[in-house]
């Protein structure tokens, strides 16, 4: 990268000569700077994204060769007597699992409101609430697997016994497994939301509150008419990012339930994994990936629209 005395980019654009001269040294250098990122993006993001769509049109059971079947994989997923119920169940499970996002949002907002005070030791509490978020999901899942142990010596079961409630099978119970996963997800994800909310809360000018207090507004009125509307964009951001992450959730499901019992915790992301890496049906897995992609794209698009709104807001 020689970038010394003569600045070629300053030359008039009609300049004739070799292409790098016409382009200008700066353009050439800039693309050199972008090259490492570009190579990685093209190889591991753009090409796979397109390849995914292509593979979804093939029937490909891994050791054997792929052959073109058009939209058969999609049709199977939607209508086949055996495939479709599994697919739709996973589809619903995905949204069931995503219920954790609004729950998380409400709890984190309440805690953030609590922590948004200048009292001694508040930093220690913020640290505490943030700790689960930075701990690896695999480690945390293992710990919760132990907390949810179905025997009487499992911690949660021992609490149930102390309260006189019969012990539960938790993760091995088709009805309870999903709520258990959601509960753990809320615990794990809370810290991130709290940090974002605290940043949002601290961005609200204190003069607004002071003015309202002089007018005799109640604490609830302060929240309803100042905090809530000003926090709106933050809430929306947390909601969409949470939904996106929830749709992609994998680790906790793999460590804690492997999609069971009876498929009660199989989400689309997990169904995709099972099809690709346990049944080696690459075509079907890719079809699920494309559907997941569309759902994620929709969410991202909503989120980008919100960015616009935020700009107008300020």
């Amino acid at each position: 990268m020689t970038t010394t005395s003569t600045d070629v980019s300053q030359l008039p654009p009609k300049q004739k000569g070799r292409w790098w001269r016409r382009w200008g040294e700066e353009t050439f250098s800039a693309y050199l700077f972008l090259l490492p990122s570009l190579v990685i993006f093209i190889t591991f993001t753009f090409f796979p994204a397109i390849y995914s769509m292509v593979v979804s049109l093939f029937r490909w059971n891994m050791p054997s060769k792929p052959f073109f079947v058009g939209f058969e994989n999609y049709i199977y997923l939607f209508t086949d007597a055996i495939e479709a119920p599994l697919f739709w169940k996973s589809f619903l499970n995905t949204f069931y699992f995503a219920l954790g996002v609004p729950i998380n949002l409400v709890i984190s907002l309440l805690i953030a409101l609590l922590l948004n005070r200048r009292l001694a030791g508040v930093g220690i509490f913020r640290t505490t609430f943030f700790l689960p978020t930075i701990t690896s999901m695999a480690a945390v899942s293992v710990v919760w697997l132990w907390l949810f142990h179905p025997a009487d010596y499992g911690l949660f079961n021992s609490w149930l016994i102390a309260m006189g409630i019969p012990i539960q099978r938790w993760l091995r119970d088709p009805v309870l497994a999903m709520p258990c996963l959601i509960g753990m997800g809320v615990w794990h994800g809370m810290g991130y939301n709290i940090i974002i909310f605290l940043a949002g809360l601290q961005a609200v000018p204190t003069t607004y509150y002071e003015a309202a207090k002089i007018d005799g507004a109640s604490p609830f009125a302060l929240f309803r008419h100042i905090t809530w509307p000003l926090l709106g964009p933050t809430l929306f951001y947390v909601l969409t990012v949470g939904m996106i992450n929830s749709l992609k959730a994998f680790t906790e499901i793999d460590v804690m339930t492997q999609g069971g019992p009876l498929g009660s915790t199989t989400t689309l992301a997990y169904l995709l994994y099972q099809n690709a890496f346990q049944f080696f049906q690459m075509g079907k897995a890719s079809a699920i990936a494309v559907l997941l992609f569309i759902m994620l794209l929709l969410l991202t698009w909503i989120q980008f629209r919100f960015v616009d709104r935020k700009v107008h807001y300020e």
């Binding site: 800039a30 993006f41 796979p48 390849y51 021992s158 974002i196 940043a199």
Partner: protein, 293 residues
Amino acid sequence: MNNTTIRSIHRSRHSWARTRKTLLDILWYVVVTFLALCVMVPFIWMIVTSLKGQNEIFTYPPTWIPQDWQWKNYVDVWQEAPFGRYFLNSTFVALMVTVGQLTSCILAGFAFARMEFKGKNFMFLLFLSTTMISSQVTLVPSYLIMRSLNWIDHYQALIVPFLANAFGVFMIRQSFRSVPREMEEAAKLDGCGRLRFLVQIMLPLCKPILASQALFAFMGNWNSYLWPLIVTNQDDMRTLQIGLRYFVSGEGGTKWGLYMAAAVLVSLPVIIIYFLVQKTFVESMASTGLKDI
């Protein structure tokens, strides 16, 4: 305290307000401490269990303080699985990804922040669009690419796909733009080349953002699970997170004491880093959340 409290209520409304505030503060501490304890229960339980013997683990009611402290668990865990190897793998991969990703992000960030070139807007949109394509979508094809490159069970598979990060590029670009342009012109006049300017002037000025990006790259990679699970089959290529997954032993059921000791070891490095650079950590977390596109 009660006596003085009651007296002060009688004395004046002003001190009543003060007492009320003190009481509210105490209530606040009680509530927040309770919530914090609830949040800490899994961590406490993990550590307590990791120090118990197998017999004590399987007794009801569970005990919060081990009767017989089994520090031995932390030694035994290294024999139970090749944890040393897992540690090495995770550390090596995470460090390589951090260094590589930061380098590519700095270069691209500089181009977007400080250079004018044909197709800049298009390139920017192209980078932006990668944030919309999630890893789940590219999972199968990426795996197929790894297979055809014969990279399965090699470090390349764990490192190379993560050597670019659009979010990192945007964050670094943002911080580069805050460096005054006059500085660059002055450097140019003194005969300082672009690359030298970037390395010797820009980077030192933007240390905080670089630190937080490095932190994120390291942490994200250290904690990653799905991709290493797919591209590694051999035991000696597994990372810590995956090693943990396979830590379910045969006879006499799962050895929960060892299992929890392993979980402690896996989560400890990131927690230590977090305590060391807490401020950078939290601030960058909040800023990636809000300022970024």
